[in-house]
Symmetry: C2
Subunit: 358 residues, 2 copies
């Protein structure tokens, strides 16, 4: 077995070298910054796999485990008070000297405090979302951070590139949590964004295994971001009842809701749960004010961290239908990388190289 | 150039042979019927590319051109009277002796007449949709047809397999026209369907070029079906004003509407158009009866065939945002195949072989 695998890998390397000439012929505009290795260098990691900076579902232990396994772990600052973010960053740094990231929704009320914390701790990579990247990109780059902005359209991707970010996450309609109004799916979004910008594109939405990783690379992505898959790990601080509920979720049980307030993909709870209340209000044509009153405050923590499946907000992607277990993060990462390598695919879109992946 | 390409192709063949051993090791349950070559044999074509059997946007000329270029052309019977389907099949057979298909929505009122026409003309491949595959699969198979059922969930895929169909189309949320209530995107749907059944899976929704084809194969598909891409061809009988409107469409301008009647993805028209009227009615919480009254009859033909962008129904996929031209069908097919070959990817998911693609 080893012999045939070794012959195969040798073959791949030879082919890769021969392949470059063909690439150049196929596509004059070879976007060299596009290969996964270049993205890995930007992010300071071995593998182009990003654990998303989700609200209520990240923490130092998860981030450290992802980092040790060669990926990029991310703290989701959107659900942390400034002093909590500070403490979590310190916990990460006490255990892990490698790269990690913080995700900051730019509409967060205490965004200034978060940015100062990020600067103070010299956080290597910052993901910004839900707001214009113009205001903070310069600040973050002078603080030495790599800046990645999350977008749901090619128009916003171009604006982010113009604002000077280093890369974008193109997040499709199927992703969990907050999402774009355009409803563009990963399959349609990634090629359009890849055509629109020259910086690396990290695909998100529906990605959870080697197959979907490969599909993302086929579409023109240089890296992948997974959210739901990392909620379903032992080290994730999400409530066990939420994880159990995700393991039982079926296709069609998540829905993009509250579009007239702020679009968010939610998972059904038991009958009569918050999800059903929102669905009924929307079906009855209730306006933004009524929906905001129904939403109230604190429901995301209630659902995802405290495990209240009835009254809490349960944010998760469509891919929840395919997630049945919550392995140790280290085992998940090892399986993702091993399964991907086992696919043995060697050549993809022009400009793509496998160096960071094989 | 030719020399290096020839060396590359030789390399691919060598690798492919070595690859099989590795495949068997990686995945014990090798679904051998899953490779694109097996699907091509089932469909009677050279390339695993299906032109979807859309309402109002198919015809004999399109079907013949797709067939001549090695793909599977399909007549969409859902918008034809029985005598029209008969005439179109005769037109196809007068010009083309190879394989082709008819798509029959099983809720069509005159479904019996269509089925008799299909039997009379010995149509090689039949796609069924919008209804249970139990009733007609036996009839069609005794008439000698390969039967493919269109599904929007893994549950329906399994039911179709149990009903004896030869393959399924897994059509994601991003696809144009009528669509599932689950809203599952191609990225999430294809892996789930591929895991659920042993028969070949044809991916649909968002597919339009070599990149998206490759992504579909990565997800576990054995073939691809494209709809919107084939609306945008010279031979397509869609109205020129509709094609021009699609070429100008941007991301976010299609939406899955009329979910409480029969979900359909529509493209915005000019301000105040039918799309806006439906959006306003849905926002106001109007029920199914009011929506059915607004829909009325004949709007699909009015929009797509007669080019009335204001009052007609404009059915097209999200991928309309990426379609800018309407080439000759032969040129489109040649580009798809050439671009795909140029990617030069050799090994994919277990059980996958490139024989039908290289």
């Amino acid at each position: 077995m080893w012999k045939s695998q070794s012959r195969l890998l040798h073959g791949l390397r030879v082919l890769r070298v021969q392949g470059y000439a063909l690439d150049a012929h196929v596509c004059n505009m070879t976007k060299s910054s596009r290969n996964p290795q270049a993205l890995c260098a930007l992010l300071g990691v071995r593998h182009p796999i990003v654990q998303a900076g989700m609200v209520w579902c990240t923490g130092a232990d998860l981030v450290v485990e992802v980092g040790r396994a060669g990926g990029l772990g991310t703290l989701g600052a959107g659900s942390m008070y400034p002093e909590e973010l500070d403490a979590e960053i310190q916990k990460v740094k006490a255990q892990w000297s490698g790269s990690f990231a913080v995700n900051v929704p730019l509409l967060y009320p205490a965004v200034e405090a978060h940015m100062e914390t990020i600067k103070k701790h010299k956080v290597p990579v910052v993901f910004t979302s839900a707001g214009s990247p113009r205001k903070w990109t310069g600040f973050l780059k002078s603080a030495g951070a790599t800046v990645v902005h999350v977008v749901s359209s090619a128009v916003f991707a171009k604006k982010a590139e113009d604002a000077g970010v280093d890369a974008v996450v193109a997040e499709g309609f199927e992703a969990g949590g907050h999402n774009g109004r355009e409803e563009t799916t990963t399959m349609c979004l990634v090629p359009e964004v890849a055509d629109a910008v020259s910086i690396p594109v990290i695909a998100a939405g529906g990605l959870h295994d080697a197959r979907t990783m490969l599909a993302a690379f086929a579409l023109g992505a240089s890296g992948v971001q997974m959210g739901s898959r990392f909620v379903m790990t032992q080290e994730n601080p999400a409530h066990q009842a939420f994880k159990q509920h995700i393991a039982e979720a079926k296709a069609g049980e998540t829905r993009l809701m509250l579009k007239d307030v702020t679009p968010v993909r939610l998972l059904q709870g038991p009958e009569g749960s918050f999800y059903d209340q929102v669905a009924a209000a929307e079906l009855a044509g209730k306006g933004p004010d009524a929906l905001r009153a129904l939403l109230g405050r604190g429901r995301a923590k209630l659902g995802m961290r405290d495990g209240d499946l009835m009254e809490g907000e349960l944010e998760i992607g469509q891919v929840s239908a395919l997630l049945k277990d919550w392995p140790a993060t280290a085992a998940l990462m090892e399986n993702l990388v091993d399964d991907f390598r086992a696919l043995g695919t060697v050549k993809m879109a022009p400009g793509f190289s496998w160096d960071a992946l094989l």
